[in-house]
Point group: C2
Chain length 353, copies 2
DNA sequence: TCCCGAAGTTCGATTTAAATG
DNA sequence: GCATTTAAATCGAACTTCGGG
């Protein structure tokens, strides 16, 4: 690997001059055009590319951003990563990945490693867990610019998340407009702030249109450690609903995986989806589109959330380098209703016509 | 952030001594015990942690591995990433992520960025594309130790992949043992080496048991650019099969997404799965477990593939530092049959009993 | 003062060669 | 020669300062 000194020797100029020319530093205005071209030619000939390690050591910037994911196997995470990577890539930044495996102690060690790498910023993708974790103190005392994706944990930490109340509203509104009145709800676990936020949206809409929510048709997921467990939980919670005997024509599930569990339960109970019961999910993760029936769901703009987070980090970096103070910002992105096959108008009860 | 010189000043020793003590360098044997403890105490007090950038500049190692993924949104990739990350983490290495977006030109630029970061090794997760790309020359001339996951592209590049012929065999064997004799096949696209390898396994088994494969029941996926398009392709190819009118009782699909597309087609044609037609996939990606019916499939040990790849990279790194030459190795990992709900014994034709 | 270029210092840690008692 | 410690060189680039025309 050729160094700047190789270029200097080969071109007959000093390393300083080469550096100034190749970086288009301010001083480059004073350097003659032909020496510039000469140096650039030699640099290209030699295939010189500056050693980022050396450069980083000088200006304390290594063009890398730490991306901490709570569970990379969660399909919710990957589109976010795609968004993050795309934005960083366009800015010539590189993501350093860390996976907490849904484990708080692992989170801390992983954070340690990212900070040791001297990442310039931190993006935390908080999908499920990340509640017990005392991220705040851990991160805040490190004084590194951070964006949380998927949660709003503290006013001092920037965040990007979907508008959960609106999402909840979209779900129930869709079912309502299809004609459903007896709707069952599988709420998210208590420990997730999302659960309550979506529920607020649901209740708000219900109040607006005068729909009453039967508390016997409302169940709640337990506090799970693994997002994939939502499948079994959705299954068993739906079984509970069916066993109580209270009739319902639709289920609004906390997320897609839960909804798929619900569909499985309905099938095994002999109820066809959507003919005999509609099901709506939340997130629009990969399985939603390819399941049979495909899942109607409220889409979180995950890629855009990732892109936003990355851009915010880059912006704060730029602001800091200009010695400007940038207040933490909290973005709320709009969800979108995706209508597929798992919802349909309710069938009239035989006794009703 | 305290530097080594701060520790030196505070403890009353020189930076050299501090470095030697803290790194447990060979010379540390000659240093008195109490100066060691003294230095270590001061270091802990100050919360000193060495600057990796400076250290990397010295020894040309930054404890980072480039991980190039061809499409991070492909559910096939994420378990591999999990395996890679876990193994690297345990070795205190860090993965730098790059996503080619299924785009060869992007691949090159991303590779560039990884190399600029001076990663110590490269893991390429080749899921779908990566055929047109001239990876070989691009990587080989960089002279960086590389492992390909999911493909075997060249003898000179190490690789980890599933035993495709065995996987193909497991799939057809399962269907055969259930009693299926009229089996349709959706082969993978020609440009993927996997397609042929799995097909070899299938034909091998068929020959062994004297099962004849009806060429009219064999269709082939087109050369797709995006793995998710396999869903639509699986759908339409199954439709074709149905339209020809040749009877079959089972479908062996190239992968899970294709299989799910096939299930959708069968449903829309009014054939229930598995009662009226069995379907088996390949990969065992996330959607397989949560679809309805859940998908019987041949599992690729993806996490293990990732872990293997990471370990191979770490090993070559260690070998190089000891000036040993390490020949590229090619690992084949065993697939595993995962039986779920989408396969069952064939029904007897009404005219047969 | 403007133009052109180079020498030398700095970033923070590692390591070799050398110095001290 | 031995045990113990350190000054100085090094990694590669960036930037400040300086000198001559």
């Amino acid at each position: 690997m050729p160094t700047i000194r190789d270029v200097a020797r080969e071109s007959g100029f000093s390393a300083s001059t080469v550096s100034i020319v190749l970086n288009r530093a301010p001083l480059a205005r004073y350097i003659r055009k032909d020496t510039k071209t000469q140096i650039e030619t030699v640099a290209k000939q030699l295939g010189y590319s500056p050693n980022l390690l050396a450069r980083s050591l000088r200006n304390q910037r290594n063009h890398s951003i730490g991306v901490m994911v709570f569970d990379i196997t969660d399909p919710f995470c990957t589109p976010i990563l795609r968004g993050v990577e795309t934005t960083l890539f366009n800015a010539s930044f590189v993501p350093i990945l860390a996976d907490a495996h849904n484990d708080p102690s692992r989170f801390e060690r992983a954070l340690e490693m990212l900070l040791e790498q001297r990442v310039e910023g931190l993006i935390v993708v908080a999908n499920w867990l990340c509640v017990n974790v005392n991220i705040l103190s851990d991160i805040e005392k490190r004084n590194i610019s951070t964006v949380i994706v998927g949660r709003d944990l503290a006013p001092s930490l920037s965040s990007v998340q979907v508008d959960n109340p609106l999402g909840g509203r979209l779900a129930i509104e869709h079912l309502y407009k299809l004609g459903h009145r007896k709707i069952a709800f599988i709420r998210g676990p208590k420990m997730l702030a999302d659960s309550n936020q979506r529920w607020r949206g649901i209740r708000g809409f219900a109040a607006t249109v005068g729909l009453k929510i039967d508390p016997r048709l409302v169940v709640e997921l337990p506090n799970l450690l693994n997002p994939m467990h939502g499948f079994e939980a959705g299954y068993s919670k739906t079984m509970e609903l069916l066993e109580t005997g209270h009739p319902f024509t639709a289920i609004s599930a906390f997320d897609d995986v839960t909804a798929l569990g619900a569909i499985k339960a309905l099938r095994s109970a002999g109820r066809r989806v959507p003919e005999q019961c509609s099901v709506i999910g939340f997130d629009d993760t990969t399985p939603a589109a390819v399941s049979a029936p495909s899942l109607t769901t409220v889409r979180q703009p995950m890629e855009s959330m990732g892109a936003n987070a990355a851009q915010m980090i880059l912006d704060t970096g730029a602001a800091i380098s200009q010695k400007m103070e940038l207040a933490p910002s909290h973005r709320l992105l709009a969800p979108e209703l995706i209508v597929r096959e798992s919802t349909a108008p309710p069938v009239k009860f035989s006794g009703e016509h």
